[in-house]
């Protein structure tokens, strides 16, 4: 670890205690603007839902909105129709016996299969899986047969008066994008994967800032560094040139580099190790 970081020198001894590492770096009280609100993480976006666990932590789920769910529903419906047709072609020619089999399989495909997928395939029907969604209970646990069947039988009501109008209306009115089936079953539909993909901070020589950085400034720099790979070069430059006081006059590409150097310092990468 670089020297002169902070006076607390918490060498991980009591890691359950809050560690003030991210408090303003440098000499105490040199930061003149008190920013009490910024000592907490920013309020989560309204599509992020926190669930408390018995371990006393909060896990975050990203709720899926009507559009993503409509796509998933569309894929599922197409698949169901395909199965209907497939079964009918396969068994339809077998006379009365075939008709019986076809009807029973239709019944299963329409009512039971979606629930089966949600219970046994990680809460995802094929359509949901394709879009990257899954169904969980309100408290984040996987769904069992009760909630899964409830929500899949109640699509009849959600469909009313036509094309899921009732379902859409309740989704837009409820805080958690719940359709009527979700309300009764106590379930939510969330994204299975996190939105963040490959956001490791690029390696660069760590550089110390010339003056202490506030918590908000540190976070801003870190978030810029994490997302820099997803920007075009021009956009990265444009953003990087904004915080002029900490850039030491660096412009253009050098501004981006400067911020990456600072970010590497902030997360504590030491020079020349890797």
């Amino acid at each position: 670890m670089p020297v002169l970081v902070h006076s607390h020198a918490s060498s991980g001894r009591d890691i359950a205690r809050a560690d003030p590492v991210r408090a303003p770096i440098g000499l105490p009280s040199s930061n003149k603007r008190p920013e009490p609100a910024l000592h907490r993480p920013p309020a989560p976006l309204d599509t992020i839902r926190s669930i408390g666990t018995p371990e006393g932590i909060e896990l975050e789920l990203r709720l899926a909105g009507p559009i993503a769910r409509a796509f998933a529903r569309g894929i599922d419906s197409l698949l169901q129709i395909a199965v209907f047709v497939g079964i009918s072609v396969l068994f339809g020619s077998l006379g009365g016996f075939g008709t019986g089999v076809v009807l029973v399989m239709w019944f299963i495909t329409l009512w039971l299969l979606p629930a089966w997928f949600e219970v046994h395939k990680n809460g995802a029907t094929p359509g949901k899986r394709a879009i990257g969604l899954r169904v969980v209970r309100d408290d984040g646990r996987p769904v069992g047969w009760g909630p899964a069947l409830t929500r899949n039988l109640l699509w009849v009501v959600d469909f009313l008066p036509a094309f899921f109008a009732a379902g859409l209306a309740t989704m837009l009115l409820s805080r958690d994008f719940k359709r009527l089936g979700d309300l009764a079953a106590g379930t939510i539909v969330v994204y299975a994967e996190s939105a963040l993909v490959n956001r490791a901070i690029p390696e660069a020589e760590p550089q110390m800032p010339d003056r202490p950085l506030s918590l908000a400034e540190q976070r801003t720099i870190l978030e810029f560094a994490e997302r820099v790979r997803t920007f075009t070069q021009d956009r990265a430059t444009e953003l990087a040139e904004l915080p002029t006081p900490i850039l030491n006059g660096a412009r253009g590409h050098f501004a981006t580099q400067r911020l990456l150097h600072l970010a590497n310092f902030l997360i504590g990468r030491s020079a020349g190790v890797r």
Partner: protein, 365 residues
């Protein structure tokens, strides 16, 4: 502790945790592979390669250690948040903890034992507890059924409200010549079975679901079914074909009609929760009601399935003597009623503990 040191120190623990989960969850295995492929170009790859031998050594922790490892991960997540480490790290730990949470708290139930318990006591108890709603649903179904059965033979025009002349002609043809309905091939029995499953259980499900609309949907479905069945019976009686109908429906009538009333109970339960949630929030009342209602619907669906089986493979067969059909029909009525009246009354201490707390406030009578 700086983030880099934190990562360096616990990386192998997180990898081990992820690997343990992957072994237990095929889906997760896929997503982890995807993730590590995606970050292969980045710095993470160097890190994970660096830690590989250590993590392999660590990977095979025994299953009994899982809860402990999970709690450790939760602690790391809490620390990472509190110290405001980079969102990427927090997000990664959050995903791992979520998967662990799923594994730990999503325990599978013992399905077989539950089914036996359900048939032996839970189902009849659930139904008995809803006796008011059952009474109401039965009135809605059987009331119009009886009224129409009596009314139509006296005033035959009444049937025309429910059936077109073509339908009446069809009914007459169907039941006039018993040989016609009775002389089916075995394979058309299967077709009939399929149709009864598809049609009748779907009706049960719709009866239940439409209850969410303040119970109105359920009430309409029950009333209409009662009126229609009554009209058919009244019409056939008025043209002297009553016995032909009765010997056909005797066998499956008990299971099918009572199951219809029970799906009505499930639907009404939903509607009541919306109308009169009582002391809890409407949302919570609905969730509680649905949890109970769906368990009644399971039984109703299975009863309808049994009825479909009887209707397809027993009711329509000529080689069974007619008195036999009546005897079986009456016996089934008695058995079904006795089942709901008596089964599961003797409570063992174990099952008494399992009883769901009674939902007093939701009764709006």
């Amino acid at each position: 502790m700086k983030q880099a040191l934190f990562e360096e120190r616990f990386e192998s623990r997180w990898l081990a945790f992820g690997k343990w989960l992957a072994r237990h969850d095929a889906q997760l295995r896929q997503s982890i592979r995807k993730r590590s492929n995606e970050s292969a170009g980045g710095a993470a790859a160097a890190e994970s390669l660096h830690d590989e031998p250590e993590s392999l050594r660590d990977a095979l922790f025994p299953d009994a250690q899982f809860p402990e490892r999970y709690r450790e991960l939760c602690q790391h997540l809490a620390l990472a948040r509190d110290r405001q480490y980079s969102p990427e790290l927090i997000d990664r730990l959050n995903q791992l903890a979520l998967a662990g949470h799923h594994m730990l708290y999503g325990a599978r139930s013992r399905f077989g034992a539950q089914i036996i318990e359900y048939i032996r006591s839970e189902f009849p108890r659930l139904v008995r507890r809803e006796w008011r709603l059952l009474l109401f649903a039965s009135l809605l179904l059987f009331g119009p059924l009886i009224v129409m059965s009596v009314l139509v033979p006296r005033t035959p025009q009444a049937a025309q409200f429910f059936m077109s002349p073509e339908q009446m002609a069809e009914l007459r043809a169907m039941y006039a010549d018993t040989a016609h309905i009775v002389h089916r091939q075995a394979e058309s029995d299967v077709a009939a079975f399929g149709f009864y499953v598809w049609n009748n259980i779907s009706i049960d499900f719709r009866t239940f679901a439409s209850g969410l609309a303040f119970g109105i949907g359920t009430i309409v479905v029950l009333l209409f079914n009662g009126l229609y069945i009554g009209a058919v019976q009244g019409y056939l009686v008025s043209i002297g074909l009553g016995p032909n109908l009765w010997q056909f429906v005797a066998g499956h009538s008990a299971l099918e009609l009572i199951a219809a009333a029970l799906s009505g109970v499930a639907g009404l339960r939903l509607g009541l929760a919306v109308i009169a949630p009582g002391a809890r929030s409407r949302k919570q009342a609905l969730v509680d009601a649905a949890t109970r209602a769906i368990r009644i619907l399971y039984g109703a669906a299975v009863m309808t399935l049994m009825a479909a089986f009887i209707e397809a493979f027993w009711s329509s067969h000529r080689y069974i003597p007619i008195p036999g059909k009546y005897a079986v029909g009456i016996a089934l009525w008695i058995i079904v009623i006795l089942y709901f009246a008596l089964a599961g009354r003797r409570r063992s201490a174990a099952s008494a503990r399992k009883r769901v707390p009674r939902m007093r406030s939701a009764h709006a009578t």
